[in-house]
Symmetry: C2
Subunit: 556 residues, 2 copies
């Protein structure tokens, strides 16, 4: 405990992973520190670790448990990993939310869908205006990223000015949204930056990042040369890319149709936020039937091979109104996010099997990243010349590499994965404690703790299969019927014509009958005997021990 | 049906995927066609589609159902995707197996472990000797790959000579095992090749493949410069790479320790097959305690981030005898197989968090592929000048691209994914029918059909969670007790202090009591009512409908 006011930083999510960003800044004494939160994002579940889960988000407990000290929530941009958890966690935080127009459109839509008041979100004007939030003054500094109106945050505190980059790229021609503006950043940094809290995603990418504008040529060329229908997919929120694709279609004299709810919603938000200049007029989905394929450019969702998205539907021929086939072209204007490789390859294979020519963004011809590469990061370090650097937005190896890069450039770096509280008040970052961190799962309509064991139980059932035993006894321990076994996720038919279920029923019944009735008066003993019999039979007959659930009914 | 003898090719596995290779060649009339099988491999399961499954293999039914027509089985090399299913499927095939020495060592080990006679496997001499198998004569033509004694097969039939490449790379200096030898291939092809059946894995790799020998320099340099302990991982079967790593350690004056059962087994087999020249003397695992880290080079299993392998154990500090940490070096001399990206990144992050410097093979500096790249394939097409080409060993998009490449070079190509029977007797490949194909899962000790629904049931439990209802009624339909609900993989505690289980029990009991006793005499009706109540309660309280299993006990 100290009685002098200190400036603290702690990531509750996003530092040690790519996803579920949530960063807290605090200023004050330990008795009365006031906080702001930056971003409230989600991570997406996978079958490997989180089957059946709808969304994953950072556990906001550290701040939620002292929510009266939270002054405000700032959302840097509208990507799901920065804004997606807002409707689920805001009820625990209950602080005013600030975002720029496009981000606010998306955030308000989410709140509205969740039955919350969209007006929780306040419109933030861009820098040089600032928003007062307790001891902090926060400005939204426009910066380039793969979505409109992404912002760095200029966070002024009594302990000095912080620059929180948010997700950014050093793109001076991003086509949609504001460019990366070194002069502006220099002005902001002119009075000295106490700490640069910086995007680390692409720290291992050795070459300077390329511009969104570099893609227009190759994409226009690809569409111009294509003979059949052209279908292209990209991230729904990458408005600049959707626009480039649409303009390429227009230049080739094609009618443009956009399909996929997420993308249409993003375009609507972009229109309302007035960040959609020179966007070609779209044809409607009902026009698909009258326009021949070689006059059509279709832009769809599903760049990650998501099963329900448009690209996967078209690939498996499951879309009622549009069929893609021999001689058509499909462009993935995107990169495959780690973990989605197999799903994307499956879509590519299905399309190829239909005779479609498939192009992807893997070699950089049809896709550029939304994050600053290593030389771009070095340039920003020099431009800002902060007293210290805190790497964020990356897996641990990205944070460590980014910290080493800063140190090599003479800047003190603080390696702070989720939960590590850094004191940024002094000459260099100092670890000031540990905040409780964790993950919450949105599961249907309820939030579940990652360590509650609920998902672990699902994984156990999937990995082991299950035998459910129903046993009927009286209070004296007499078995009133044979054991009844239901088999789930296991082969029931045995090679000798018998069934696994019948063998288990016989063994459990026999083993229960072989003990004294007095022992059968105890449910624990009955369960223990029944589970052992079942495990033994399964190991012998099918070579594995499934999960066993015993339901003992005592009839009086 | 034809009454003239024809030459048929059909992939039962491996064409339309990378894995579970199994190719059949047949010659004769439809009434009396005689077959040989090439390779009997596995694919590895994943949580996404095959939770709990131990191994995946091609359903050999097409051949097994006419096993009396199967003359012999030829194994091209000892990778799991070519030999791994032998012990599981041989009992359905029961034909003599032929393999070269190193491959035979591995195959025999597997048969022995499965309680089968290792002598099923016959040693095959290399080309120019040939093995008679019905109408075929088969020769093992040495070729380079990432494992010793890989072979192409020269398959002579009355309809002409086939060259089945197996997995290969155009490496003239593979360090261990025989080189790619263009002169030898030219000799084989001199009399004309009816069909080249060819590896398609790397058809999208635009540059000529690099040699295993190219790695010795960079790896030796990396180890020489390292200050702390060096740990390196690669595929256990890549004997040449293990040797390069060991020699790099030796050159740096380090003691070499190999850890991981799979790798030690491969080295043993290589020693017995006499394909391990100039291999440094190994220190024992018991020496780890007395040798300081900077005098140590440890070569381990786990290049794919497998949870139980050495690399993952070291990364999470779970290995009892060896600890890796600050200042040590870890080298992935391997590529990450699609689908394993997240697991490998997790290991890299854990190592980085321990202060270990991590290097990987992604940029090609410390790893080369075992497969021929696009220009290498083109060179082989020209060298062999076959009448026709059949692409194999690849996903559909690889096969299609390889077929297009051959056609562009003036060679007729036959695109034949698993199950497509090609007639190779004529001027160009002709589709002659469709063989039944599918996947079998090894699950514990039993084989399960992929379409049996067993794994689908596991996935359902994992994705939805489950409510199990135990209901006690008499024959007249009287409910003898309240419904009893067990909850699996769902949050039981509700926000109002109640439990989901209690709410379900109350609703089911109420809804059952609300119908006439006569209706409750039917198990079907009871089940229907109970399931509906459960689904409604769950949807209302937790926002999702779980799986429901109803166990109705009728007490007499």
């Amino acid at each position: 405990m100290t009685d002098t006011a200190r400036l603290h930083y702690v990531a509750l999510g996003g530092a040690g992973e790519v996803g579920m960003n949530m960063y807290a800044y605090g200023y004050g004494t330990d008795e009365d520190r006031r906080y702001i939160l930056v971003d409230v994002g989600v991570t997406f579940p996978d079958m490997e670790s989180t089957p059946g889960v709808d969304l994953i988000m950072a556990d906001p407990g550290f701040i939620a448990d002292q929510a009266d000290r939270l002054e405000a929530i700032f959302i840097t941009h509208a990507h799901e990993d920065h804004v997606g958890a807002l409707p689920h966690l805001w009820p625990r935080l209950k602080a005013p939310v600030y975002a720029r127009r496009f981000t606010a459109e998306i955030a308000r839509m989410k709140l509205d869908q969740a039955g919350l008041d969209p007006e929780i979100v306040n419109l933030a004007p861009p820098w040089p205006e600032q928003i007062a939030a307790g001891p902090f003054r926060v400005g939204f500094l426009p910066i380039a990223h793969s979505i409109p109106e992404a912002s760095s945050l200029v966070i002024d505190s009594p302990a000095g000015r912080l620059l929180h980059t948010g997700d950014y790229k050093a793109d001076t021609t991003p086509l949609v949204g504001e460019p990366y503006a070194p002069e502006l950043i220099q002005q902001v940094a002119a009075g000295g930056i106490q700490a640069l809290v910086c995007d680390s995603t692409n720290v291992f990418a050795p070459h300077p990042g390329r511009s969104e504008a570099d893609l227009a040529g190759p994409i226009t060329e690809l569409v111009r040369k294509a003979s059949g229908m052209v279908v292209a997919t990209t991230f729904a929120s990458n408005i600049a890319r959707v626009r480039t694709l649409a303009q390429a279609g227009e230049a080739a004299g094609r009618a443009i149709v956009v399909m996929g709810r997420a993308m249409l919603r993003m375009l609507d938000a972009a229109r309302r936020a007035d960040v959609l200049p020179d966007f070609p007029t779209l044809a409607g989905i009902e026009d698909l039937e009258r326009i021949p394929g070689d006059h059509l450019m279709v832009i769809v969702t599903g760049s990650q091979g998501e099963r329900r998205a448009m690209s996967a539907q078209l690939a498996r021929g499951a879309h009622g109104r549009l069929e893609i086939g021999e001689g058509d072209t499909f462009l993935f204007s995107s990169k495959t996010i780690p973990g989605n490789e197999v799903a994307v390859a499956a879509v590519e294979n299905q399309l190829t099997a239909r005779g479609v020519r498939v192009f992807d963004g893997e070699d950089g011809r049809y896709h550029v990243s939304g994050h600053a590469n290593r030389p771009d990061l070095e340039a920003l370090h020099k431009l800002v010349a902060p007293r210290m650097l805190v790497p964020m937005h990356g897996e641990f190896r990205h944070l460590a590499e980014h910290a080493a890069l800063a140190e090599a450039g003479g800047i003190a770096a603080g390696l702070a994965p989720n939960g590590t509280i850094l004191d940024l008040s002094g000459e260099r970052p100092v670890i000031a404690g540990q905040a409780p961190v964790g993950r919450l799962y949105l599961d249907g309509s309820v939030l579940v703790g990652a360590r509650d064991g609920i998902v672990r139980e699902r994984l156990k059932l999937a990995l082991r299969g299950q035998v459910i035993l129903s046993l009927l006894l009286d209070e004296d321990g007499n078995l009133l019927d044979e054991a009844w076994a239901e088999i789930q996720g296991l082969r029931n038919e045995l090679d000798d014509g018998q069934t696994l279920g019948a063998e288990i029923e016989a063994a459990v019944t026999r083993d229960l009958e072989n003990v004294r009735p007095k022992e059968r008066q105890s449910d624990d003993a009955v369960e223990r005997i029944a589970k052992k019999s079942t495990g033994d039979v399964c190991l012998q007959l099918i070579g594995r021990k499934p999960a066993v659930l015993t339901m003992i009914n005592r009839i009086t």
